[in-house]
């Protein structure tokens, strides 16, 4: 089964609004959580990540919220802009040695309309 799941394949938000992207995971041993952004015909790039010892991390317009008991994490993008339009991939992983073996969700296509 899908260990990391993004239940919304798409989301449309008005420019200036808040985009909320959600991700659920199954393995409660996961200790690292990340969001990647992907433009069409481009490779994914890391947006923001957290480790399991924090519940929230902010970076500019981006905030990650981690709910370990609910096995859920989310990405909030404030003041959404048309250039935020992309596919957002959540990922969760478990450290094995130094590396984290990351499992990705299916992706959510965010469209910010002006």
């Amino acid at each position: 089964g899908q260990q990391v799941k993004q239940s919304s394949p798409s989301l449309t938000v008005q420019e200036g609004g808040i985009s909320i992207l959600n991700c659920d995971y199954e393995n409660d041993m996961f200790d690292y959580f990340a969001w990647y952004k992907k433009y069409p015909d481009n490779s994914p790039t890391l947006l923001i990540s957290v480790r399991s010892n924090v519940d929230k991390r902010e970076d500019g317009r981006l905030t990650v919220f981690l709910n370990k008991s609910g096995k859920h994490f989310s990405l909030h993008i404030t003041a959404s802009q048309p250039e935020d339009t992309a596919v957002y991939l959540c990922a969760a992983g478990l450290h094995q040695g130094g590396s984290a073996k990351l499992i990705f969700g299916e992706g959510t296509k965010l469209t910010v309309s002006s």
Binding site: S43, G98, S99, A100, K101, L102, F104
Partner: protein, 115 residues
Amino acid sequence: DMKVTQMPRYLIKRMGENVLLECGQDMSHETMYWYRQDPGLGLQLIYISYDVDSNSEGDIPKGYRVSRKKREHFSLILDSAKTNQTSVYFCASSLGTGGDAETLYFGSGTRLTVL
């Protein structure tokens, strides 16, 4: 310049042919990965390599094998390609140790079509 390079960018093969996808990185990263991306399925991990000759199966290894003889180079091999292996293949690398150990740096992808 931090870079993950994949070759080729596009590839068309016939069913039953052998396929070699190449990946290189210039960051001396310990860990390298091969993922495939299919519509509605996101990125699925095929193999992970923790260093030279230290490879481990991911979630969908069947039909694939890998080779890592130098730290900077990681190959994905399809022996006798099948039509259901048509996909976009991404290589990635990560530092493996240290503060930025988990961040994956992706190549630009190889779009493989198996006819």
